[in-house]
C-alpha cells in the first residue's frame, strides 16, 4: 500500500522541482535587476522598484496565483496552470531575492569599495570582482532557506491544478481513502528535498567559510 501510494505521489516530484527551480531562477534574475533599480540614483526608478518589492511581498502567494490564473484571462492573457504558477512564484521570488541581495550588498563594508577605488578599479570591475562575489557568499544561506520556503509554497500550485506533490497526494487521498498516509508521504517527500537543498548549501557555505574565514 505504502509503496503504491509513494509511487503515485512521487510522480509529482518532477513538477514540484520544476516550478520551484524555474521560479527561483527567473526570480533570482529579476531580483538582480530590482536591486539595481532600488539602488538607482534616479528617484522614480528606485521608488517604483521599492513599491514593487513591498506590494509583491504583502499579497499572499495564493492570491497572486488566482489573480494570474483566473484573473488575467479576462484580459485575454490565458496561461497554462504550470505557466501561471511559474509566473506567480517568479514574481514573488524576485521581490524576496531582491531583499536578500540588498542585505548581502549592505554587509560589504565601504572599506572594500574604497580599497578598489584607491587601486583605480573601474566601477564595473569593482562591482563584478569585489562586491558581488562577497555579497553572494554572505547571501548564500539566505538564498538556500528562501529556496526551501519556495519549495513549500509551491504546494499552492495544486490549487490551480498543477500536478505536483500535493496535487497527487490529494488525489490519492480521495481515491484510496488513505488520507493520513497520503499526506504523510507528501510531507516526507518535501522533507527529503529540503534536506538535500540544505545539505548542499551547508557544504558550499562551509567550504567558502573555511577558505576565506568569517569576516
Amino acid at each position: 500500500m505504502i509503496a503504491q501510494l509513494l509511487l503515485t505521489i512521487a510522480q509529482g516530484v518532477g513538477l514540484t522541482l520544476y516550478v520551484t527551480g524555474a521560479s527561483l531562477l527567473f526570480g533570482g534574475a529579476i531580483g538582480l535587476v530590482l536591486v539595481a533599480a532600488v539602488r538607482s540614483r534616479i528617484p522614480v526608478i528606485s521608488g517604483i522598484a521599492t513599491l514593487y518589492i513591498n506590494v509583491v511581498r504583502v499579497v499572499p502567494p495564493i492570491t497572486w496565483l488566482f489573480l494570474i490564473y483566473f484573473g488575467l484571462p479576462q484580459y485575454a492573457l490565458r496561461l497554462s496552470a504550470i505557466q501561471a504558477a511559474i509566473v506567480g512564484f517568479s514574481l514573488i521570488a524576485s521581490a524576496f531575492m531582491a531583499e536578500i541581495y540588498r542585505s548581502g550588498l549592505l554587509s560589504i563594508p565601504d572599506a572594500q569599495r574604497e580599497a578598489a577605488h584607491a587601486l583605480g578599479l573601474s566601477p564595473v570591475a569593482t562591482v563584478g570582482h569585489i562586491i558581488t562575489p562577497q555579497a553572494f557568499r554572505v547571501a548564500l544561506p539566505a538564498v538556500a532557506s528562501y529556496a526551501i520556503g519556495l519549495l513549500k509554497d509551491s504546494a499552492l500550485a495544486s490549487t490551480i491544478g498543477v500536478r505536483e506533490i500535493t496535487y497527487y497526494a490529494q488525489q490519492s487521498a480521495r481515491q484510496t481513502h488513505e488520507g493520513l498516509l497520503s499526506f504523510i508521504i507528501a510531507g516526507v517527500l518535501y522533507i527529503v528535498i529540503s534536506l538535500v537543498v540544505a545539505v548542499i548549501s551547508r557544504r558550499v557555505d562551509l567550504r567558502l567559510r573555511r577558505k576565506i574565514g568569517v569576516a
Binding site: A111, A115, L119, Q134, I212, G213, A215
Partner: protein, 263 residues
Amino acid sequence: MVFSFGTRTPPTALTGEVVVSGLGKSYGASRVLSDVNLTMNEGEVVSIIGPSGAGKSTFLRCLNYLETPTEGTIEIGGARVVAGGKRPDKASLDHLRRVTGMVFQSFNLFPHLTVMENITLPQRKVLGASKEEAQEVANKLLKRVGLPDKAEQYPARLSGGQQQRIAIARALALSPKVMLFDEPTSALDPEIGLEVLAVMRDLADEGMTMIVVTHEMHFARDVSDRIMVMGNGGVLEIGPSEQVMSQPQNERTRQFLKAVLDR
C-alpha cells in the same frame, strides 16, 4: 635603532612630485580642512602628525579623491586636478589614482581572493597586464615584503602585520609614484607594527615618495624628511623632522608632542 637625520634635502622650488595648494574641504557648513599646502620632491617622505580630528585622514583621502575636496589644486606625479568647480573628468581622476597608492589602517585586502589574486587582479584590470606578467610582479613584491610563501593563502589566515605587508605589495604592484599611508600600524600590536614599519623604511630608502599619517613618533623622526603637524583642519607647522620634534615653533604643536611623548 638607526638615526638618520637630514639625509635628504628639503625642496626649495615650487615644482615637485607633489604640489598641493589651497586644499580645503567642507561638509555642508562644517569646514574640516582649510588651505592646506604641501610641496614634495621625488623621493621625499613626509609624516603627518596631529591630534584626533585634525583632518589628517581627510587630507590624505582628498589626495586620491576618496573624499572630494571642495577647493584647491592637487598635482601628483604628472596628474593635475582642480577642486571646487564641476567634478574633474574621469581621465584625470583615473590618472590621479594611477600615480598614487594607498595603504589603510584596516588593510582592506579583498577577503574572497588569495594573496596572489589580491595583487594580480588590480594589475590585470587597471594596467591590462597578462596573468603571467602580473604574477611575476606579485612574486617579486611578495619577496620584497618578506612573505614569498603566502601567495596561495587567503587574507583571513594571515596576521594583521602580514596582511598590511600584502596591502603594501598590492599597492606597489601598480607602480605608483607616491604612496599614501593612513596610520598603517595603528591596528597592530606594537611588535607586529615593527615589521610593517621595516617594510616602509626600506621603501623610503629605495626612494619612494611617501606621505604617512602616523602616531609612530620614532618613524616620523627617523624615517621622514619632514613632519607636517595638523590641527583643526589646517597645517600648524611643517619642517625638517628633527627640528619639528626638538624645537617646535607652534604652541599647539608643543602641547601635542608633550602629550604624545609623555605617554
